[in-house]
């Protein structure tokens, strides 16, 4: 328990440090950090529409974050969630406009196809990882570019809606994810994300498979020695992570845009990964870190209206968070390595 508490403090300090450096940068561009942060807060939580807007931004970050958690806990660094999100989003749209089905069922089939598309997309790097021990970080990063361009190609050359925009035809209303409130596009996707986070946390803690997967993640040599098929486990973990990445795309398509378009959900996959890292791979923790990043995104909409700071300041703050979280990971490793040396002395 004290370990977990210490991890929490560590991450909190990382965020505060990032915000502090962000404040310095804001001062350097001749703006008041207090004003900027207050505007961010107001933009994110000022009234019920704004809160709903924040939650709308949170949803894909959360689902992508859970996808990243599955990978991290299972010892696989899936940096390809962005690509799986694009594939899943496109696949859901395809089912949504091209395959008429009864309401409800239509939505579910579209989501399932999105999940399969995400899993299929990650199966390529997963295969190379398992078969040839190719570093999955590199191959999943590269697969992002292919995914984004591939879906653009599909959209523009094969399924373009007649008219000027690079987007598919709109999906049929029978495939919509229902909205939660009348005043916002916020939809059941958020509920899907929350339930998913809880379920994934439960799976890791309470099932034999989850135990095996998390052992491969935390102590691969121990897992191998203990009789777990490490390669197979890694493949499954990547596949599951990619499937959830695909689901994130499906939810975004069916809940928000109701079509697929070029650049339809930029950066959610990466934000999700950062949210998961900041939460130390805990799906429940990711709920809160995803909300934090969702609030930053949504709050920044007001930033250029009310202050002289650019929206990009939130990108800077995110980058600073990544830096301080990684610095912390490195420091922890160093601490652990000396602990390792001492462990052997009696």
């Amino acid at each position: 328990m004290s370990d977990r508490l210490r991890a929490f403090y560590g991450q909190a300090i990382a965020v505060l440090l990032a915000l502090a450096i962000g404040a310095v940068i804001i001062v350097l561009v001749d703006e008041s950090p207090v004003k900027v942060f207050m505007t961010l807060l107001r933009g994110a939580f000022g009234d019920q529409t704004k809160i709903a807007g924040t939650l709308l931004q949170t949803t894909p970050i959360l689902i992508c974050g859970v996808a990243a958690c599955v990978g991290l806990r299972g010892g696989m660094f899936n940096v390809g969630i962005e690509g799986q999100l694009f594939l899943g989003g496109f696949a859901a749209a395809l089912v949504g406009f091209a395959l008429p089905l009864p309401p409800g069922l239509h939505m579910i089939v579209a989501l399932i196809v999105a999940v399969l598309a995400g899993a299929a997309w990650v199966s390529i790097p997963a295969y190379f990882r398992t078969r040839y021990n190719t570093n999955e970080v590199v191959s999943t990063i590269l697969s992002n570019y292919v995914a984004v361009l591939l879906t653009s190609y599909f959209t523009i050359f094969l399924f373009k809606r007649p008219g000027g925009w690079s987007e598919t035809p709109p999906i049929l209303p029978s495939a919509y994810l229902p909205e939660l409130f009348s005043f916002s596009r916020l939809n059941w996707g958020l509920v899907v994300g929350l339930v998913l986070a809880v379920v994934v946390a439960w799976l890791f803690r309470h099932t034999a498979r989850g135990y095996s997967a998390s052992m491969v993640g935390s102590a691969p040599k121990f897992a191998e020695y203990g009789g777990i098929d490490v390669k197979r486990q890694g493949f499954i973990v990547l596949l599951a992570s990619g499937a959830i990445g695909g689901l994130a795309g499906g939810v975004e398509t069916l809940g928000v845009h109701h079509r697929f378009m070029e650049g339809f959900a930029p950066g959610f996959g990466f934000d999700g990964l950062i949210a998961a890292l900041l939460a130390n791979g805990s799906p429940i923790g990711t709920i809160f870190t995803a909300l934090f990043f969702g609030a930053l995104r949504s709050g920044s909409l007001l930033l250029e209206v009310d202050t002289n700071a650019s929206r990009e300041i939130i990108t800077v703050i995110q980058a600073l968070i990544i830096l301080s979280v990684s610095a912390q990971v490195l420091m922890k490793r160093r601490g652990d390595s000396t602990a390792g040396e001492r462990r052997w002395k009696f």
């Binding site: 102590a219 121990f222 897992a223 020695y225 001492r342 462990r343 052997w344």
Partner: protein, 524 residues
């Protein structure tokens, strides 16, 4: 030594090289050192012994500036000092040779020795000067090394010499050695002791931590015994016997005589035939090894660390490919199976490298004991884990194996080394496997626990299991094994009956000689 108790006068250097007065160190509610006093006279070899968790390492870490005491004083050469970090301790003339060497394998011997204090000429490292100085020092103190050799190519014994030279180059007058002989042959140990005696004859002081009581008896002038973080006694070694030391360490009598046993004639469980394997450098590490282990039999593998034992254990466990040969367990060839499949043939394994292979240090005791059973009742049903049953099971194991922990949720890496080993043993010994591969059963485990572990191994034998024990501690094999096989340079040098084995014969075979060859050939 006759003037050992005379008083210090102002014009003579202080009598005591190191004095620790009333040292207390707490970690939360746990007191690692409680009011410990240690006085080390100049020019003596001072051994510090005690069980795991007795506070030896904490005390040495405090002396070397790695930890700060909560109470107490440190005096070096009669001067009060406060060491904020090891650098301060080094500049006060202390040097520490750690149990696990900290050398850079890709650099040469001389580069390692001068690492961090390179001899610089016009902004460039003066390699010639470093090599020259290394050679000069190595000859002066009688620790032969080749200054230009890469460290990755030298033996463990040489690595230790390099570590000692490193400490000397930094001007140490008092050297602390942590378990220095754990990795050495009996012959190498003897050479080390000669070196240490030369050091003290030159007026230096040696503090050394050890588990091997024979060594303590052989080499030390004075012994300090710690138990449960407290100072038990400091006595001249000459006044003590081994039994006295054990009694002071453990607080009771412990015996390491050969375990009595009934002869057994079980069926062959493990059958290793013409096994070859390579090490990380792709060099042959196991050469044509063949042997069998029968049910109800303990076979010991003796040898100096690094003569193929690790490779043998890993090949059998499926963690390293065999380049040739077979190893049948219950009729199935282990060299063709994955680690997971090998487990299913009835294979239990206590790995030599317990922190990496044996446990997930960051996880709880329960979680570590669950490994390998997560798909079986009562630990799980229908794929769902029953953590309550797992915790209950863990509590029973903690009791049975006397694991010193607060409970099943304690994080494993917070336990002492001996207790971590007990977690591994608890898991592997309760798996009902036909064959147990036990690599270094009591490495770093205290004497009381060693006895308990030996009893557990004997009861596995009595239960009809086939047991293969790999150990660098010869006395352990003499206590346990029905037959002892000696590995040297990947070859099996031969087999000795456990009832007739003696140090001398096996020691020769460990050095690569057949018994009967003459002693003088050892020198060449």
């Amino acid at each position: 030594m006759s003037n050992a108790f005379s008083t210090t006068t102002a014009d003579r250097p202080a009598e005591n090289a190191v004095e620790l007065v009333g040292i207390t160190k707490r970690f939360g509610a746990f007191t690692a050192n409680e009011n410990v006093n240690l006085t080390v006279r100049r020019g003596e070899i001072h051994a510090i012994i005690g069980e795991n968790g007795a506070g030896k390492t904490t005390l040495m870490n405090i002396l070397f500036g790695l930890l700060q005491p909560d109470e107490g004083k440190i005096r070096i050469d009669g001067q009060d000092v406060v060491f904020g970090d090891p650098a301060a301790a080094i500049s006060a003339g202390l040097g520490m040779v750690h149990q696990h060497f900290k050398l850079v394998p890709s650099l040469s011997v001389a580069e390692n020795i001068f690492l961090g204090m390179e001899i610089v000429n016009n902004g460039l490292i003066d390699h010639a000067a470093q090599i020259e100085k290394t050679r000069e020092l190595s000859e002066r103190v009688g620790l032969k090394v080749d200054p230009t050799e890469r460290v990755s190519l030298v033996s463990v014994g040489i690595e230790q010499r390099i570590e000692i030279l490193k400490v000397l180059v930094r001007g140490a007058r008092t050297i602390i050695l942590d378990e220095p002989t754990a990795v050495l042959t009996p012959q190498e140990s003897r050479e080390l002791f000669q070196t240490l005696r030369r050091f003290v004859a030159d007026g230096m002081t040696v503090i050394f931590i050890s588990h091997h009581l024979e060594e303590v008896m052989e080499v030390s002038d004075t012994v300090t015994v710690l138990r449960n973080g407290k100072h038990v006694a400091t006595r001249p070694t000459a006044e003590l016997t081994k039994a006295d030391l054990v009694r002071m360490m453990v607080g009771r009598d412990v015996s390491f005589d050969r375990r009595p046993r009934e002869a057994t004639h079980g069926k062959v469980v493990l059958d290793v035939r013409n096994l070859w394997a390579r090490d990380e450098r792709r060099l042959p590490a196991l050469r044509d090894v063949s042997f069998t282990v029968r049910a109800g039999e303990i076979v010991g593998i003796a040898g100096v660390a690094g003569n193929g034992q690790t490779e043998l254990a890993e090949v059998l466990a499926g963690l390293r490919p065999a380049s040739h040969g077979e190893a049948f367990l219950n009729g199935r060839d282990l060299t063709r199976l994955s680690p997971a499949a090998i487990r299913k043939t009835g294979f239990a394994h206590v790995p030599g490298d317990r922190m990496i292979r044996g446990v997930d240090g960051g996880a709880s005791i329960s979680s570590n004991l669950l490994m390998g059973r997560q798909y079986r009742a009562p630990w799980s049903r229908g794929g769902l884990l029953d953590w309550k049953a797992t915790d209950r099971d863990a509590e029973a194991m903690i009791k049975r194996f006397d694991i010193r922990a607060r409970g099943p949720h304690d994080t494993v890496k917070r336990l002492s080394g001996g207790n971590i080993q007990k977690v591994v043993l608890a898991r592997e010994f309760t798996n009902d496997a036909d064959f147990l591969l036990i690599d270094q059963p009591t490495r770093g485990v205290d004497i009381g626990a060693q006895e308990a572990i030996h009893s557990e191994i004997m009861s596995q034998r009595a239960a009809g299991r086939a047991v293969l024990v790999i150990s660098v501690q010869l006395d352990e094999l003499l206590t346990l094994a029905d037959r002892i096989l000696v590995l040297f340079n990947g070859h099996l040098m031969g087999e000795v009956d456990g009832n007739e084995a003696d140090d001398e014969t096996i020691g020769m075979m460990m050095a690569g000689l057949q018994p009967g060859e003459k002693e003088r050939e050892l020198v060449s």
